[in-house]
């Protein structure tokens, strides 16, 4: 029983990290249709920004989350304004362009911050573990779970309860009609890309203390993030959340029953089979094309 509960928690904890990384991508891909291959690099930039703030400004992990969101968000905004916006009518070219941006960001970090692994410190209060019902939980993993929940709520509110959200949804459904009604789609897209990038940045700063920080860390995350978005279906925050939950629990369960190498293989095969028979993903919204 104890093993079962701690295994469920492990699954949730893997899921929360997946969701954290995938959320920004789901928004950029879901509402703008841009396949952003530089997403992993935004995660990496978030991790490095956290390291930088800690190392040179003495700012701890929790207060730095807001700063990192703003920093990576503004980098995202600049990239959207400078490059991505010229490619909206050429969706395939965005893949190549964002991939190139990703490589450049990686090398830029390598040249400025150096290639060695960096170290982000956890606040003392979060580095402990607690016993609940006789089961040991890592406080930091609970914290990630909590923050992910908050971010989901925030994103949902932003999309559903604000003027910006209404406009974005209008553009997603029919860009021309939305523009005819006087919505500035350029401005909204810029903000959306920045928001997605900022979320990736926060993901980076949250994973930094339990994983390693290196210039090429992003490449692992972008694959996971795409898997979540593909499984969840495009354009649905709830679908993204559900997909990360499923992937997290299945990965954890398989890793426990078999081992991590096989778990990875099985999860990939399952996702490939699924999109063969349900290409739109598990939870997709109907969108007029």
């Amino acid at each position: 029983m104890e093993v079962f509960i701690s295994q469920i928690f492990t699954g949730l904890s893997i899921a929360s990290i997946l969701l954290l990384v995938a959320l920004g991508l789901a928004i950029i891909y879901g509402s703008m249709g841009v396949i952003n291959l530089a997403h992993g690099e935004f995660v990496m930039l978030g991790a490095y920004a956290t390291w930088f703030l800690q190392q040179y400004a003495g700012i701890g992990l929790i207060p730095s989350l807001v700063l990192v969101f703003l920093m990576v968000g503004s980098i995202g905004w600049v990239i959207e304004r400078g490059i991505v916006r010229h490619l909206y009518h050429r969706p395939l070219d965005t893949i190549l362009a964002t991939w190139g941006i990703g490589i450049m960001l990686q090398q830029l970090v390598r040249l400025t911050a150096g290639a060695e692994l960096r170290y982000v410190e956890l606040p003392e209060s979060l580095s402990r573990s607690v016993d609940l019902l006789g089961i040991n939980f890592s406080v930091y993993r609970l914290f990630i779970l909590l923050v992910t929940g908050l971010l989901i709520l925030l994103t949902w509110l932003l999309l559903m309860r604000t003027e910006y959200g209404t406009k974005l949804r209008a553009i997603t459904q029919n860009r021309e009609m939305a523009e005819c009604s006087g919505i500035d789609s350029q401005r909204i897209f810029g903000l959306t890309f920045a928001f997605g990038a900022g979320l990736a940045g926060v993901a980076g700063s949250l994973v930094a203390p339990i994983k390693s920080v290196s210039p090429d860390m992003g490449t692992h995350y972008v694959v996971d993030a795409f898997m979540v978005v593909v499984l969840g279906g495009v354009g649905s925050v709830a679908g993204t959340a559900a997909a990360s939950g499923i992937l997290g629990e299945v990965t954890a369960g398989m890793a426990y029953l078999l081992n991590d190498t096989l778990a990875k293989v099985i999860v990939f095969i399952a996702v490939v089979m699924l999109i063969r028979f349900r290409p739109q993903g598990l939870f997709s919204q109907l969108v007029r094309k």
Binding site: V3, Y119, S129, I210, K211, S212
Partner: protein
Amino acid sequence: MAINRRSFLKGAAGAAAAVGFPHIWVKDLGQAYASGGEIKVGVLYSLTGTTAVVEKSLHNATLMAIEEINAQGGINGMKITPIVEDPASDPATFSDKARKLVMGDRCVSVFGSYTSASRKAVLPVFEKRRNLYWYPTLYEGRECSKNVIYTGATPNQQQKDFIPWLTENFGKRFFLVGSNYIYPKEENNVCKILLEQLGGEVVGEEYVPLGHSEFSSVLNKIRDTKPDVIFSTVVGDSVIALHRQYKSAGFDPEKMPMASLTTSEVEIAAMGGEYGAGHFTSAPYFMVHESPENEKFVESYKRLYGADSVTHFVSEPAYFQVHLFKQAVAKLAASDISPENIRDAVQGEELMAPQGLVGIDGENLHTNLWPKIAVCQSNGQFKVIKQSAERVRPLPYWAYQGQSCTASGLKGA
């Protein structure tokens, strides 16, 4: 004698062959390896790509040793000229660059490689061209080449004292965790044999993909099986993730420490001292080792490459193997300098290295070393708790009964 067209062509071809391709007749160009007062050697460590961080430190240690030798007047008055190539962490590029160094530049030896994959990639070049490769990394053993000098530790050297010491101090139930490739599997073979002799038990054995960073499931299995020791051969970035998640899962190194063959000062610096504190590593060299040679090594290294740079158990062999090369070449007359003569000369050669008096084994071309057991401290440095009472012989086929690497090649395979 009538000269017809056919016999003329035959004769001309023969004459052209004799004049134009002298190496068909002259087997070795002799002097060419040490001409003009210089001895050319290759330096083949990745300066870019995934393993560049570690390999850069090996590159630095190698060049530092070459500079030291040249500053003291070189070898019998001849300077060592390093020819640096960057194989970019890619085995195929390693093989191309090795061919260039051996055939194009006619280097008499090449110092290089960190990963086993890259060593395996260059091996055919050195065996076919009968050149000499100097490999500084601890590795999985089970190789017996007459064209490689191995100056890192073999599994028996790292584990022979380590496993008994762990069972005495913590207990006999081991959980083995490693990255999923050949090195951890071979090391675990050795560990299992030693445990069996000691009456120990393996309660779990897990391999994670290279670059893996999610250890919750592995840690749950460890929580389940309650081992006395976690024996880790995880490599690279994964080491950092494992140590951090171990701590945040609430485990205590005093009751269930991790015992590693791969965690060095480099990994500890990246994970933060408090995550490494209390865990054990076995290796022939640690930066804190106290000897005049090590003091000098660390001091020169820091002077050249920055006060916060670290030396570790791969950069130390990368450094001393160049000095061994020098000793071997110094025994030869300039006209006798060739890869094979250097190999013959280096057998049995001894040197006061930072870790202690090391010597090349006359049989298998591996190195007799001084294994040490050390515990990591929260300041990011190790503390040596136990040094092997005697120098330990390298036995690359220790886990394979009946097989051994001898001067005439692999026996009993």
